[in-house]
């Protein structure tokens, strides 16, 4: 009996420590935040936050027309505040329910905000566990409000629409796929440099493509789609998408579908300044050609060379822009030195900003055509 007494006392005592049910809120008393757009405001040091709040009863709808019963499925509410938390508090004066951020899927940052100091915006996102590290981040051309006002027709839930657009890496490598966790990690390890997806919007849909280049927590410029794909090839992040090249024989194009990619960076020379070589291995299928039906093995081999050349060109273009124009090391060269050549890194740690634009990178792409297509 004695041991049970002890057990129960422990259990009861632990309950005393938890009196108040600190987190207890019925699920229907919460307002889920689906996505947030952040814009600058007229007041100094304050931002405008656009919260998109899914309305549960309209989304689930139930009988008779699946939520088409009148109301909007998503409400967008704007507020002004120093930080996202402050914004939410201000909103509490107008709404009768708790804002709940754990389901926030997408953070869209306006161009003006990004050109200012991103640190201030990101701070609460790092600090509070309430923010989902898997929410995706995008930087919007112009105001984030435009994105938040989009009325997608494929999904009822705006956040879901935005998130799945930003997650479609299997279909295209032309944008920088990034979630909050990655973003924070990049900002830490690369001193505030990162590639973030670029987003644009019209009334009914958003479009992604290209990337925003963040240097020292500030937006410094954009990469176009091909440059972004090149950078993704460099980083080994491509999982899908296609490459269209000139048909070597016909007068049309050949579509090459990427199945997978691996990249390997290695240090080629240490003196006078570090020199890198990059091997990129790409595997894929041929989806369409414009000449003849039958594709011989020789043709396939020839195609491999042409695709490699095209990919090399994309990578060089992206690397050149990042290296020479923006001088932003999101290619993780410094990371490589830090990890694999610590002594060399110590030498360049201070002066890396000056050395980096002059670093030479030898790019080799190895393409394999896995399948020339079933023809029967």
């Amino acid at each position: 009996m004695n041991r049970y007494k002890k057990l129960w006392i422990c259990l009861l005592l632990s309950m005393v420590a938890m009196v108040g049910c600190w987190d207890m809120t019925e699920i229907d008393r919460r307002l889920f935040v689906g996505s947030v757009g952040i814009d600058t405001s007229d007041e100094i040091n304050k931002y405008t936050f656009h919260f998109s709040l899914p309305i549960a009863r309209e989304i689930i709808g139930g009988e008779g027309g699946g939520g088409g019963g009148g109301g909007k499925a998503v409400a967008t509410v704007s507020t002004v505040g120093n930080s996202i938390v402050d914004g939410a508090r201000n909103l509490a004066l107008r709404l009768n329910r708790d804002l709940f951020f754990e389901h926030m899927r997408v953070i869209v940052i306006g161009e003006d905000v990004a050109r200012g100091d991103l640190k201030k915006v990101i701070n609460p996102l790092i600090r509070l566990t309430e923010f989902n590290r898997r929410s995706r981040i995008a930087i919007c051309e112009g105001e984030a409000r435009k994105v938040m006002e989009v009325n997608p027709w494929t999904e009822k839930l705006k956040a879901e629409y935005l998130e799945t657009v930003l997650a479609s890496t299997g279909l295209s490598g032309k944008f920088a796929e990034l979630d909050l966790g990655d973003f924070l990690r990049n900002l830490h390890s690369q001193k505030g440099d990162a590639l973030v997806s670029k987003m644009a919007a019209n009334k009914t849909q958003v479009s992604i493509g290209g990337a925003a280049v963040i240097k020292d927590f500030r937006l410094v410029g954009w990469l176009d789609e091909e440059e972004t794909q090149g950078a993704n090839f460099f980083l080994g992040k491509i999982t899908g998408g296609d490459i269209v090249v000139e048909d070597p024989q016909g007068n049309g194009t050949v579509t090459f579908i990427i199945l997978g990619e691996k990249s390997r960076l290695s240090l080629k020379a240490k003196e006078p300044i570090p020199e890198f070589s990059l091997d990129v291995y790409v595997a894929g299928n041929i989806a369409s050609t414009t000449h003849g039906i039958i594709l011989s093995l020789e043709d396939a081999e020839k195609l491999q060379g042409i695709v490699s050349k095209e990919i090399t060109a994309q990578i060089s273009k992206g690397v050149k822009k990042l290296k020479e124009i923006y001088k932003v090391d999101v290619l993780k060269l410094s990371d490589h030195l830090y990890k694999h050549e610590p002594e060399l890194w110590r030498k360049y740690e201070e002066s890396w900003g000056d050395v980096y634009p002059n670093v030479k990178i030898d790019i080799k792409v190895h393409t394999t055509v896995k399948n020339i297509g079933v023809i029967r």
Binding site: C21, M24, R30, F32, A56, E102, H103
Partner: protein
């Protein structure tokens, strides 16, 4: 009214005529005169109108006086007629009796005349009265200080039927009945082993119920057998009407929600457990036998687990354990997830729960308590009502009330799903007592979840684990073989390995003879091949 019963003596009680261990008091010896003996019996069994005394004499003269005493309805009339009365009264009528009344005549009757199968001599009132009360027939002869107790037990009883609580698809269909001897015989028929021992004691001051323990000598661990006997001997109770009385009196921890003896209605389960080194307790007047020691895993087993092929059984067992987990955690998890940690749910699910809950007047906790309790009430009502009505209640309760409650907006449809999954999961546990124990835990976990969310649930599970790890059943760990784990025993746990691979008996009974299977199949196959090659 008063006139008839005023003659009865309610207050005066003849002194207890049996020893503490329910064996008859042998000190009151029988008398020489048949009249005194019959009066003696009547002095104890007065006001018992169901006792029948049949006086008769043997042969052609009333010299050889005899008397039969038995209880109407508890004796087999055929045996009484054909094996006692017929030989004594009809067969002896044709020739004159040479023996004079007395000892020799008694022996002649016992050895030469009675054709009943089982009889014994007795020289005291204790045995005689117990015999009469047990359904035996007692034969008194004049001028002898002894009586014959002839086993004529036979009463209206239920035949061997299919057990209703442990249904199987494949497996024997016979179940225990309410008769002790039948039950023992059902087990004995499966184990033709001279080492199968049956020890019978009587328990209950008023009921004097036959309680037997069965074990296989050399397989069961002696200390477990001793422990069972010791605990049974400490039982001092007025009545044992069902094996549940014994179970609750001899189990080690009666605060636990888990039964520490396994109960079964199936002789094949008893036989299988005996071979594994368990001890069976079989009780008269109930079709439920008890098996000791019990482990959590054994309570999760169905006999069919060993009759079906092992892939299927392994899958079913895994499902059963998952079901058991949901059987006591599901409503609690729902409460924790929705009221404390909605971030853990997928967004779409969180939204649909939120939408479903909109307009529901009660908090999730109260809602869960209402639904789980009403389900318990429905279950109880369905069990107690006669069969066809019970089903009706199930339909009315499940469909009509559930649907109506949702439509009226009193509970959310998700909660109906949660409670239904919870209930169905608990029915997937083969042992009803365990399932009910788990359902009890549901309430505790709901309380903990409503106070501290997942943290509370974890505390509850932690407490449960502590309890289970410390729980013992007759010296065996309740959680074995997970406590003091042995790899060789893992084949019969959450999965069930192929039967040829289960070479040793489970260690929780620590049987003396560990070998279960000597797999000589391969040897014999090889040898057969060799021999045929030689020829």
């Amino acid at each position: 009214m008063t006139n008839i019963f005023s003659k009865l003596n309610y207050t005066k009680k003849k002194e207890l005529y049996f020893e503490r261990d329910m064996s008859p008091d042998k000190s009151k010896k029988l008398k020489k005169s048949i009249k005194e003996n019959i009066d003696g019996v009547h002095s104890y069994l007065y006001d018992c109108d169901d006792i029948i005394t049949r006086d008769f004499y043997m042969g052609q003269t009333p010299k050889h006086q005899m008397s039969l005493m038995f209880i109407d309805g508890m004796v087999d009339k055929d045996t009484l007629q054909n094996d006692i009365l017929k030989p004594l009264m009809i067969f002896t009528r044709q020739f004159p009796l040479e023996y004079s009344v007395g000892e020799n005549f008694f022996n002649m009757v016992k050895e030469g005349l009675l054709t009943a199968g089982d009889l014994k001599e007795s020289d005291n009132f204790g045995e005689v009265i117990l015999g009469i009360l047990s359904g035996d027939t007692v034969l008194f002869l004049d001028k002898v200080e002894k009586a014959l107790v002839i086993s004529t037990r036979g009463w209206e009883k239920r035949g061997v039927q299919e057990p209703s609580t442990e249904a199987v698809i494949r497996g024997p269909r016979d179940g225990f009945t309410e008769t002790y001897r039948t039950n023992v015989a059902l087990v004995r028929r499966r184990l033709k082993d001279p080492n199968l021992k049956v020890k019978t004691i009587k328990l209950g001051r008023h009921t004097r119920t036959d309680v037997g323990i069965m074990f296989i000598q050399g397989v069961a661990k002696p200390s477990i057998v001793d422990e069972v006997l010791k605990r049974l001997n400490t039982v001092d109770t007025s009545s044992v009407l069902e094996s549940g009385y014994i179970e609750q009196m001899i189990e080690g921890d009666w605060l636990s929600p888990f039964p520490q003896l396994r109960r079964t209605e199936r002789p094949d389960v008893v036989a299988a457990s005996l071979v594994e080194g368990n001890v069976a307790i079989i009780c008269d007047n109930t079709p439920f036998a008890l098996l000791a020691p019990a482990t959590l895993l054994s309570l999760f087993q169905s006999p069919e687990d060993y009759y079906e092929r092992w892939y299927i059984v392994s899958m079913i067992r895994i499902l059963r354990f998952m079901a058991a987990f949901f059987a006591f955690t599901f409503p609690a998890l729902y409460i924790a997830m929705t009221t404390f940690h909605p971030g853990m749910l997928p967004t779409d699910l969180a939204l649909s729960i939120a939408a479903a809950r909109e307009g529901v007047p009660f908090s999730a906790v109260l809602e869960a308590l209402i639904m789980v309790s009403s389900l318990e009430v429905l279950r109880e009502a369905g069990v107690r009502l006669p069969g066809p009505i019970g089903q009706t209640i199930g339909i009315v309760g499940g469909l009509v009330v559930g649907e109506a409650a949702v439509r009226a907006g009193i509970v959310s449809p998700i909660m109906v799903i949660v409670v239904a999954v919870n209930a169905i999961s608990s029915f997937a546990i083969p042992n009803y007592s365990v399932a009910i124990g788990f359902r009890l835990l549901t309430f505790i976990l709901i309380a903990l979840a409503s106070v501290a969310g997942l943290y509370g649930i974890m505390l509850g599970l932690l407490g449960l684990t502590i309890h289970l790890v410390t729980l013992k059943s007759f010296g065996a760990h309740f959680l074995s073989p997970f406590v003091s784990f042995r790899w060789s025993e893992s084949k019969d746990t959450i999965i069930r390995g192929p039967i040829p691979s289960m070479e040793i008996r489970p260690g929780y009974t620590r049987p003396e003879d560990l070998d279960r299977i000597n797999d000589r199949r391969h040897d014999t196959i090889d040898k057969a091949g060799d021999e045929s090659a030689d020829e």
